[in-house]
């Protein structure tokens, strides 16, 4: 569906993307995870055909994406980070404009506008000016405006920035539904939770380099441990729990004792040991490592701090 072959993009002395290679299959929900300034938007703009790479190639269905190929853009839908809508026009007028730009007209345009307004739950507000919409409504319209022409690849550049949790969940469900219907989605975000929840495959990007690529499980295998047990101080008491080191590495913080389980450790034996030590089950929390841990492992810094 989409291939990036050793793509590099520079802005003056700054290398925004460095030899990024990537292949997306049809129907994938691909997440691009990285902090602000990592190169996500640059990569999106290259795939959207807004910019040309300094070296390397971007191929859409085997054909090079170059600025002059307007026909290839029919296959793309792009949801910018900002609310890219004419706020002094109504929802319907906005969709009509964008639909016409993609060559839709007549009954087909009318039908698609109706479908998109329905999907965005804005049918009742179709004639209202966009500037009168709530942030969530604007975001939903911002997304469906990229879907009018039924693209085969949807590019979403951080589409939920500044959106309340309820609207965010509505957007997630909408995108997942589209993906289930066969739409390939590239979704850039700096929220680990979004990437984890939505994406079948994730690429982690920082300083223009693609650091890791794969499904969530594949990515987590990059970490030395897979699971962690956290025993709160209230449960463990003030002393050290004897014999815990035999199950993995132990670290003690002010409020908890943390056990990073060694590979192939049986959880049942650990819990039996804790029970014998008089630790109540309510004081024990089992945690799987997440993308935050992976990002920390790969870059030495937290995703939120980057």
């Amino acid at each position: 569906m989409l291939s990036l072959e050793s793509v590099t993009k520079r802005y003056g002395s700054l290398t925004a993307l460095s030899a990024v290679s990537l292949t997306l299959r049809r129907g994938e929900f691909f997440g691009l995870l990285g902090p602000n300034g990592a190169g996500k938007s640059t990569l999106m703009s290259l795939v959207a055909g807004l910019k040309q790479p300094d070296s390397g190639r971007v191929l859409l269905e085997g054909e090079p994406l170059v600025l002059s190929r307007l026909d290839l853009r029919q296959k793309l839908g792009f949801v910018p980070q900002t609310i890219a809508l004419y706020e002094d026009l109504s929802a319907e007028e906005n969709l009509r404009i964008f639909g016409r730009l993609y060559g839709l007209s007549g009954a087909r345009l009318k039908e698609r506008i109706q479908q998109c307004l329905t999907a965005a739950q804005l049918v009742d507000r179709r004639r209202d000016l966009v500037k009168r919409f709530s942030g969530g409504m604007q975001r939903r319209l911002n997304i469906v405006a990229a879907l009018l022409h039924e693209p085969s690849l949807l590019l979403c550049d951080e589409p939920t920035v500044g959106v309340d949790p309820q609207s965010r969940n509505a957007i997630f469900e909408f995108l997942q539904q589209l993906n289930r219907q066969g739409l390939t989605v590239v979704y850039s975000t700096h929220y680990m939770e979004e990437a984890t929840k939505l994406c079948s495959r994730i690429g982690i990007i920082d300083h223009g380099k693609l650091l890791a690529l794969g499904t969530l499980d594949e990515l987590l295998t990059h970490l030395p441990s897979t699971e962690t047990l956290r025993i709160t101080s209230s449960g463990a008491g003030s002393g050290r729990i004897a014999g815990l080191e035999s199950f993995g590495s132990v670290s003690v913080t002010a409020d908890a004792t943390v056990l990073a389980l060694a590979p192939a450790t049986r959880l049942s034996s650990v819990f039996a040991h804790l029970e014998e030590a008089g630790i109540p089950a309510s004081a024990v929390q089992l945690a799987r490592p997440d993308l935050e841990d992976l990002f920390l492992h790969l870059t030495g810094k937290s995703l939120r701090d980057a």
Partner: protein, 449 residues
């Protein structure tokens, strides 16, 4: 107090970092004060117009009075006196009245002084001249008329009297001439007052009789008025308006174009700088990700500006018709042509602003500065002839000047399409040059990044 000082410091730092605010506060007023100063002669040793073309045509034989008046007019810095013109091959020919009328029609001349064949009749004492004029600018015309009267009234009588005396001597002999002049002096004294002997001496020496009237303060006043009466009787200036005779409301017709063009520039600049708003909203990203090129976006903006300009100008002229009775319908086709050319050039100007400015605030500040300066220099507020030579030259590089000229050609001179084409052509040429620069700037700039 320290809180106030902290906030004050914040305002000062913010202001100094805002180059647009700084330029609007200091540069724009300075430039406009300079232009107004030039117009009203604050800086120059004398105020008034400079270098207005004035044709002088002598139809009869060479005359001392015509020569003297022409020489005096050449001394006036307000006029650039033309008695001949050069053709394309550089051949110089003496101007005729027919040729002068053509130049009026071509808007290359607004004032001409014609000494007709019977300027100095053999049978009557006096001088007759014709003043051809195109009073499309009333302030300028009033000043030109006043200056012409002053010059003629100063230079003509002496030359006239001396010429008359010499002709009389050669024709009738010295004795009979002296007798004639003595009787003339007695008649002048009898009719206008003064000492006949003094008048005789003045007449024989070629001077204007100055001793007419009573002596003393009251006498001085009477002397002045009687001298004017005397001049009025010996100098006859016929005025002929060659253009704008049918104009219904001259004052409104003269000024409507200037105001229209200024507001149009503000409108189209605002429309063009809306590009910044669309960029900020991320709309260019959405549009350029669609099957849309940069050129599509720019052309749509350009056509919108042209359409807006055309509608605004037409509306303003029709408002002028309703409010002031300006005749906009009798030459409506040509009015549309010049409005379209003006809109094209003004929109190009707006696009240039959008292409060179880095922010909407900068574009707005630059627009204010350039529009006010162009309006002042281009003649939208006052005649360019009131400004120094270099500003008059500069004004011809502004679209305001050519738009104003075009509007006046249509509304004042009732020109034909062929006569209007040079003005529309210059405006379209300005648009082409400015658009080329804009496209170059848009390609190099960051508007679409």
């Amino acid at each position: 107090m320290s809180t106030v000082l902290v906030l004050l410091r914040k305002d000062i730092v913010g202001f100094l970092r805002d180059r647009t605010a700084v330029s609007l506060t200091f540069l724009v007023p300075a430039v406009l004060i300079y232009i107004f100063g030039q117009v009203f002669g604050v800086e120059r040793s004398s105020s008034g117009p400079v270098g207005i073309p004035l044709a002088v045509v002598v139809q009869g034989p060479a005359s001392a009075a015509a020569d003297a008046i022409t020489a005096s007019l050449r001394q006036e810095k307000a006029f650039r006196v033309m008695t001949t013109e050069k053709d394309a091959q550089g051949v110089e020919t003496v101007l005729t009245e027919d040729r002068v009328r053509v130049l009026f029609r071509e808007n290359k001349l607004r004032y001409a002084l014609v000494f007709p064949a019977d300027a100095q009749s053999d049978t009557s004492f006096g001088l007759k001249v014709r003043f051809l004029n195109n009073p499309r600018n009333d302030i300028e015309t009033q000043m030109v008329t006043g200056l012409l009267q002053k010059t003629i009234f100063t230079a003509a009588p002496a030359a006239l009297l001396d010429s008359l005396r010499k002709r009389a001597v050669s024709f009738a002999g010295p004795a009979r001439t002296e007798a004639f002049y003595r009787r003339l002096a007695e008649n002048v004294a009898a009719n206008f007052g003064g000492d006949a002997g003094q008048i005789y001496d003045d007449l024989m020496s070629g001077r204007l009789p100055s001793g007419t009237g009573s002596s003393g303060a009251q006498g001085a006043a009477t002397s002045s008025s009687t001298a004017e009466n005397f001049l009025d009787r010996i100098l006859k200036i016929e005025s002929e308006q060659l253009s704008g005779q049918k104009v219904k409301n001259a004052a409104a017709t003269r000024s409507v174009g200037g105001w229209a063009i200024m507001f149009l520039l503000f409108s189209v600049s605002g429309a063009a700088t809306s590009l910044f708003d669309e960029k900020k909203a991320g709309l260019f990203l959405r549009l350029l990700a669609a099957p849309v090129r940069r050129s599509h976006i720019l052309w749509s903006k350009y056509l919108f500006g042209m359409l807006l300009g055309l509608v605004q100008l037409t509306s303003l002229f029709f408002a002028g018709r309703i409010l002031f009775g300006i005749d906009v319908t009798s030459n409506f086709g040509n009015l549309l042509v010049i409005c379209l050319a003006t809109s094209t050039a003004c929109t190009a100007f707006g696009m240039l602003l959008a292409s060179i400015a880095k922010s909407p605030a900068a574009a707005s500040g630059l627009a204010t500065f350039l529009i006010l300066t162009m309006s002042a220099v281009g003649g939208a507020w006052f005649p360019t002839s009131f400004m120094p030579d270099f500003i008059q030259v500069l004004s011809k590089f502004t679209l305001v000047y050519w738009s104003m000229e075009g509007f006046l050609q249509v509304l004042w001179a009732d020109c034909t399409l062929v006569e209007l084409l040079p003005y529309a052509g210059v405006l379209l040429a300005i648009a082409a040059v400015v658009n080329t620069i804009s496209i170059w700037r848009f390609n190099r700039g960051s508007l679409f990044e």
